[in-house]
């Protein structure tokens, strides 16, 4: 068996059970960021339809006010909330808050910065995103 056969590639890198919730948050931060950028550009294009008058606007609106459109918007809400809450956590951590006191590097070399407070903040971001998505679903599907 060669060393390469053990390589799992991106799947191995993204495995949250191997590197913990911090790695999962790192990957999710990038995925949500790229997703939100894609939505932002699409939203700019979508809203420009108003320059084509009522017909153009109603055409685009009809496209977004479908079950699929609402599901996409729900995902955008979830991505937005996670990206915001986790982003604020990262700013706080980079400011030196929530990182814990420096200590001697003893086996098993658990970084002090990857502490319970950070884990709770990451899980909170995920829970808040789920709650916001449920609220979004209620608002949008309540008006279908």
């Amino acid at each position: 068996m060669t060393g390469d056969s053990n390589r799992e590639g991106i799947r191995g890198m993204a495995n949250p059970r191997r590197y913990g919730i911090e790695r999962f948050a790192y990957i999710l931060m990038r995925i949500t960021g790229l997703g939100l950028l894609a939505y932002f550009v699409a939203h700019i294009y979508e809203t420009s339809a108003i320059l084509r008058g009522r017909a153009g606007w109603d055409e685009v609106l009809a496209m977004t006010q479908t079950v699929e459109g609402h599901i996409v918007l729900t995902l955008v809400i979830g991505m937005c909330v996670f990206h915001t809450v986790n982003g604020i956590r990262l700013m706080i951590v980079q400011g030196g808050i929530m990182t814990g006191k420096p200590g001697r590097a003893d086996y098993p070399y658990t970084p002090r910065s990857q502490n319970a407070r950070n884990k709770i903040a990451i899980y909170s971001a995920i829970v808040l995103a789920a709650v916001a998505m449920m609220y979004g679903l209620t608002v949008m599907f309540g008006e279908l």
């Binding site: 990038r30 960021g33 700019i44 320059l51 008058g53 700013m91």
Partner: protein
Amino acid sequence: MRESTIIRIHYATALASVAFVALHVMIRVTQGFADSLEFENVVANYQFLPYAGILEVILVLLSIHGFNGLRVVLLEIRQGRMYERGVTVACIVMMVAVIAYGSRTIFAMNMGAF
């Protein structure tokens, strides 16, 4: 520009975006989500100067934050002098293009396209 300055701009645009986008979403929800998207309401929103100003600010803030974020993600994947310069230039060009395209809608509607 130094990366330390860029990351400060990245964080500043993030925090400002959160405030302005929250305002934008609140305006939509308080008007009633479906009603706020009616043609007349959207035209009226664009013609109300303070709201048009908020939209323009959001457009600029999110474009800077979003395309710098894309640049950071792309630079994490691969490094190299030419690659890094190419990614930076491409992101700046895309950012300017999105701001110009979005501003065209806001300005045209605010100045009475309808």
